[in-house]
Amino acid sequence: MANTPEELSYTKDHEWVRTKGEQATVGITDHAQQQLGDVVYVELPKVGDKFESGEPFGSVESVKAVSEIYMPLSGTVVEVNSTLNDAPEKVNEDPYGDGWMVVVQLGNASEVDALLTAAEYEDYIKEEASE
């Protein structure tokens, strides 16, 4: 069973968000990394890149497939986890910690309210699995 920390927010595209003031850290969920299998490459944006919420901001490549990762909130990238260049397996090992991907400066902080809670996300993946 996938781990879904209570204090984070989630999207239906399987990203997690940790907000702190006007900034948010983004990664992919434990459930997502389990589904993808061994991650071999993570393609991330550059610091300064701007995204609308829902826009793809990079991709995660596993041995099976390449999947887009989508920006949960509009904003500007202020930090990128460049350690993933050499150690993409951190996405599998520690998706909510060392496997984080970007930090964004939020363009519209109220968008956070539209994200899923941990309980809602868990319901959503159960629903997805039963389909």
Binding site: Y41, E43, K46, S59, E61, S62, K64, A65, V66, E68
Partner: protein, 442 residues
């Protein structure tokens, strides 16, 4: 495609089941003004012996006894006889990388060897399984440079093969790229002073030896590109030059593309040929096309696989690095057999003969009254002759003496009316070169 026989009755019943009476009705979706209603203008039926006689007569009008000094992207080299029987083996004789590729270990092995030899020739770290030809390989390099740098301004020397530039334009026409052309018709090699690279430049694109035959100072151009965070893309139209010149990789190139025709592939009126594509390992996920890798199976034995397919169209759909999902298999095989047959020293020897014969020809022509070499830059097997009269006129006169003496550059560079592009390869005997020189003398 499989052969499925069907009789008129079966065709009628198939039409019936989809509610049609005649085959022609299936084409009614096509607008009438583009449908042909006239019978094809191929004349009345002819008996088989008459038809054969007709084609024999047509074939006899081909000129086969001309001495050619044409290059400009298609080069006449000796083709070892071993190539044809080997590629004709049924295990090999396909243009495609196979579906379920891992079933065809031998095919993957030769592609892996091809990639290895292309890396050795270009001085690069990774090469793909091949592209359609030099021009499409260059176009893919431009797209890749844009992905790598996330920039879309390019600087291209007009001494890159004019047809390659046209293909690049076709590939990039609707992508909003800005492509600056730098004129080289007066300088020969690229004059770096006329290159305006900036922080938004994705790549500088040159050909070396360039369309005028001049060898470019790749090291200096690489430095100029890298200073701005841009890539250097090097196109090579005459792959045999790898046997004589310092490799583009050693000079700092980021992407090297080439036309591989020189390696055992017949001229065939301009194609099909094979494109070579090589780059640095750090860009491996941005490479277009197929890539064969070596690995170990579960018993530890060596095996070959198609690797990094996740970049490709059949898996990554519209986000793929390219719409090429295949390679020029049969021609890559020809090049592989050529390179394996000649070996490192063989390729170097062929290149040395090209170099010496071309320089002999150039020196002799330059001694003629009114003739000279247009550019002072070093060259491999191709050079531009300055002619005392219009070059197209000179070339036409040589035809009367059964010599294809060169290409009048005016065709591609209207300002270069007195310039004849001459190519001399290892197949030109000394007597043939001397005949060209005396024919030019008049």
């Amino acid at each position: 495609m499989r052969y499925i026989p069907n009789s008129p009755d079966e065709r009628r019943s198939m039409l019936e089941s989809i509610g049609y009476e005649r085959i022609e009705q299936l084409f009614e979706q096509i607008p009438e003004n583009v449908r042909s209603t006239e019978p094809l203008g191929i004349g009345p039926p002819v008996s088989e012996p008459d038809l054969l006689a007709y084609f024999r007569e047509l074939a006899s009008t081909n000129a086969t006894d001309f001495q050619s000094f044409l290059g400009a992207g298609a080069y006449s080299h000796h083709i070892p006889v071993v190539i044809d029987p080997l590629i004709s083996r049924s295990e090999f004789f396909t243009a495609y990388t196979p579906y379920q590729p891992e079933l065809s270990q031998g095919t993957l092995q030769y592609i892996f060897e091809f990639q290895t030899m292309i890396c050795q020739l270009t001085g690069m770290e990774v090469a793909n399984a091949s592209m359609y030809d030099g021009s499409t390989a260059l176009s893919e390099a431009v797209l890749m440079a844009s992905r790598v740098t996330r920039r879309n301004k390019f600087i291209i020397a007009d001494s890159v093969h004019p047809q390659y530039r046209e293909v690049v334009d076709a590939y990039t026409h609707n992508l909003g790229f800005e492509i600056d052309l730098v004129r080289c018709g007066q300088t020969g090699p690229l004059d770096l002073n006329s290159v305006r690279a900036g922080k938004d430049t994705a790549a500088i694109i040159v050909q070396s030896p360039n369309f005028f035959g001049c060898v470019e100072d790749l090291k200096a151009i690489a430095d100029a590109a890298h200073e701005q965070g841009a890539l250097l893309i090097v196109a090579v139209a005459e792959a045999m030059s790898f046997g004589a010149l310092r490799s583009p990789g050693a000079c700092g190139a980021d992407i090297v593309v080439a036309e591989g025709q020189s390696f055992g592939i017949p001229l065939s009126y301009g194609g099909p040929y094979v494109g070579l594509f090589a780059t640095l390992e750090k860009y491996i996920r941005q490479i277009p096309g197929r890539l064969v890798g070596e690995t170990r199976d579960s018993n530890g034995r060596r095996g070959y696989v198609l690797t990094l397919s996740t970049r490709e169209q059949h898996i990554r759909r519209e986000k793929a690095t390219s719409n090429i999902c295949t390679n020029q298999g049969l021609f890559a095989l020809m090049a592989t057999i050529y390179l394996a047959t000649m070996g490192r020293r063989g390729v170097q020897e062929v290149a040395r003969q090209n170099l010496q014969k071309a320089h002999y020809a150039a020196e002799e022509i330059a001694k003629l009254d009114g003739f000279g070499l247009k550019f002072a830059a070093p060259f491999f097997n191709e050079f531009v002759v300055r002619t005392p009269e219009r070059a197209s006129e000179v070339a036409r006169r040589l035809l009367d003496k059964k010599i294809l003496g060169g290409i009048a550059l005016e065709t591609y560079y209207p300002e270069l009316k007195d310039s004849l592009l001459v190519c001399v390869t290892e197949v030109a005997k000394r007597e043939a070169i001397d005949r060209l020189v005396s024919a030019l003398a008049g």
